[in-house]
Amino acid sequence: MKISLTVNGNLHTSEVEPRTLLVHYIREHLGLTATNVGCDTSSCGACTVHLDGEAVKSCTILAVQADECDVTTVEGLAKNGEMHPMQKAFMENHGLQCGFCTPGMVMAAISLLREIPNPSEEEVRIGLEGNLCRCTGYHNIVKSVLDAASKGAAGR
């Protein structure tokens, strides 16, 4: 089936099998491999991307369901060579260890701030419950999100 969608600002028209998952379309058809496949069961959140501005798990969405939609992956966050404030906050607060969960964490965190611009620590922890860090580095991840929020990342 033919689909047309915008990924990181670029319009892509592709022929896909209906059973193609969005994450595989992003990784294998478009070669954008920052979005990871972790659990493959919509538990871990490593595959989190934005679909029309909201965090979703791209391993549980068919590419055909994203037809005519706007998708953003972590590769699409930087503008004019400058990292998104959430990315900067993760870097400055050591919000990553092995880095596998990081693309999904960053995308989920940006979506969270769109819904709750200045969350409490508890709201961040609840808001990121769909993302697992196997290094258990949650402390600095939460710190990063709070830091980004305090620097006005919600509007970005």
């Binding site: 209906p18 059973r19 919509s42």
Partner: protein, 270 residues
């Protein structure tokens, strides 16, 4: 994991979707948010040969004041149920329960109608709408009918919904000002409940729904009768498991589930 191959059709209205399902027969399934169906298809526990995508049927996503009840379009997402001011005022139990479904990514996609049609006894919204005395409007080739939640759940993942029928609306009676509580006992964030309880009490009436206490969502009628006849909460809660048939699994024994149900009903209404 990738689902087995299937043919994909997209419907722009409920009637078009029902027509397409009728055309393909039993092997076709409706696809709404996909957050129950796609995981099953990836595990090959479901292998529909045709999916009829109803995710873009926009006129089935709404939350409306309908006098004595709130009418919710079947394609309303969990996130919209959770954030609805109308529901927070008149059926806060449902808005709160919706906020416990999965995680925010799941709630951005999953729909209330999809969750109910899936009829999973371990899901939060079937048991919650059962406790609330909801009814479900369903549409098929022969027209529309309304099924009370208490007549809807027939067995594990089985409901009164015919294969060519789709849920179009969920009607939830208002419980404005009720005492209510939702208790979800699980071990990890975003897990299904090991046992969950959705309960409310108002002017001599009550509703108690149990999550994961049998092959269907359970209405704890013994507890409700006790509450309605003025029994103390502790005595009513002690009857919480009387109408259930919980099973053993990796997370809990049946007896532990019965204990949890009794404790959680008490907590829900304390």
């Amino acid at each position: 994991m990738i689902p087995a191959a299937f043919e994909y059709q997209r419907a722009s209205s409920a009637d078009e979707a029902i027509g397409l399902i009728g055309q393909y027969g039993d092997e076709a399934k409706f696809l709404a948010g996909g957050h129950s169906l796609i995981p099953l298809m990836k595990l090959r526990l479901a292998q529909p040969t045709v999916l009829v995508d109803i995710g873009r049927v926009k006129d089935l996503s709404y939350i409306k004041d309908a006098g004595d009840h709130v009418a919710i379009g079947a394609l309303t997402r969990h996130m919209d149920v959770e954030n609805s001011d109308l529901l927070k005022t008149h059926v806060p139990l449902l808005a709160h329960a919706a906020s416990h479904v999965g995680d925010s990514q799941v709630r951005h996609r999953g729909t209330i109608g999809g969750s109910i049609a899936h009829a999973d006894p371990a899901s939060d919204l079937p048991a919650t709408t059962l406790a609330l005395g909801a009814s479900y409007v369903v549409r098929g080739p022969k027209g529309e009918r309304t099924i009370a939640a208490r007549d809807f759940y027939k067995g594990f993942l089985e409901s009164a919904l015919a294969p060519d029928e789709m849920i179009t609306e969920i009607r939830v009676p208002k419980i404005t000002g009720a005492k209510w509580g939702f208790q979800k006992f699980n071990r990890r964030a975003q897990d299904w409940a090991i046992v969950g309880v959705a309960a409310w009490q108002l002017n001599g009436a009550s509703g108690v729904g149990l999550v994961n206490m049998g092959s269907t969502p359970i209405l704890a009628t013994s507890s409700m009768n006790a509450l309605n006849s003025g029994a103390a909460l502790a005595d009513a809660a002690a009857l919480a498991d009387a109408d259930s048939e919980p099973q053993d699994d990796l997370n809990a024994t049946a007896e532990y589930r019965r204990h949890l149900a009794r404790v959680l009903v008490r907590r829900a209404l304390s």
